[in-house]
Amino acid sequence: MKDMRYIRAASVTEITDNLKKYGDKAKILAGGQSLVTLLKQRLVSPNVLIDISRVADLNFIRKTKKTLKIGALTTHRQIETDPFIREHLPILADMEKQLASVQIRNLGTLGGNLCHADPAGDLAPPLIALGAKLKLISATGARTVLAENFFKDFFETAIRPDEVLAEIHVPLLPYFGNAVYIKHSTRGVDTTIIGVAAFISKDIDTCREVRLCVGGVGSVPIRAKNAEAAIRGKAVSKKIMAEAGKKAREEISPVSDLQGSAEYKKELIEVFIQRALKAASKGGRKGA
């Protein structure tokens, strides 16, 4: 095995300073639930490993007036069990309950999950549907990108080699809004075959805003924009939801693999879009 320098960063400044120094020769180690597997199989062998797991400043769940701010080192289990999230953003707690196993959720972090950018990841679709933003920090400054624009290709993101993902900003649900995440996998802990997140806000019966995001069916999580357009501004009926399912099936082209044929996945897209819309439009929070 080749020599690797191990640096344990104690603060955000130490992380960004080291990233500035080593750039793409370094990999960031957070919860280790994806990277350690790759290191062990020697599929990835960085020169420098920057362990950020002890940086306490990046582990928090903070509520502001309209936004929930989550530190990138917050674990999946913290999100799953947080009382505020359970009440006000139940989509996130529900999604976490379905993400891998409790052992992985205890160690895996939100930031690590997003930066690994597995197209079948469960965290990204709900964040994209909710309109979340990601705050990236480097030695020279900070910038914010929409979660939707963060993912570029299989395991590739918009993050630059000198940047670290620091915070996730999730808008709180509007009073008449609701969001759900549903997924399908062979067994609970297996790779997600399809995961659909739906966000709907309504004026009485009419859909004011809708965002649909499908994971596991492409190189990145995909917004089903034609399906959204079929519902936006209309009364949410069974017929409209069926129409949206059809649109999503047409606009997304999954690839056949061991988990199922392209045709089977298209069928899943149509069915899961409808199920997610049905659940999201059923009021959920505060009887909207």
Binding site: L43, V44, D153, F154, V255, D257, L258
Partner: protein, 153 residues
């Protein structure tokens, strides 16, 4: 995994056939191809670099022509080994050329790819999609080269 597709190219059958066996043209068309040459026994050998997120693989590829019926049918076999022992792939290809018009040729392509080793355990689903993407890029580049009179634009 089987990849099948078909594309209509600008150019006579004979020209398309020649391009498909021309190492310089292949080098320009295969995504990530670093070098390609023809051995004395007619086999092609080359290096192809594939990058998926943090994982980089460099395959030494040997392609053998199994059957040749110029200028309509070409059957070949490829074996790729990664230099860092992360995995290997085998590929069986069949190319069929059909004259639609003296200056239009239809290329029908079937390729069966098997990926094995560590690289396959990591992400069989990813490599399938990646292989499909590479094949699409290959055909797009080939089509460009034929359109621009044999030179890459």
């Amino acid at each position: 995994m089987i990849i099948e597709s078909s594309i209509t190219l600008d150019g006579p059958v004979k020209e398309v056939w020649e391009k498909l066996l021309d190492p310089a043209c292949l080098k320009n068309c295969i995504p990530g191809c670093e070098s390609i040459s023809v051995r004395s026994n007619g086999e092609f050998e080359g290096t192809v670099k594939v990058k998926i997120g943090p994982i980089k693989a460099r395959f030494d590829v040997v392609l053998t022509i199994v059957e040749k019926q110029p200028p309509v049918r070409l059957v070949s076999k490829a074996l790729g080994r990664d230099r860092f022992q992360t995995g290997r792939f085998t590929q069986e290809n069949q190319l069929i050329l059909e004259e639609l018009h003296p200056n239009r040729t239809r290329l029908t392509y079937t390729s069966e790819i098997t990926i094995s080793g560590k690289i396959a355990t990591f992400g069989e689903r990813v490599f399938r999609a990646k292989a499909k993407e590479m094949e699409e890029n290959f055909l797009a580049s080939l089509s460009d080269i034929l359109k621009h009179g044999g030179r890459k634009p």
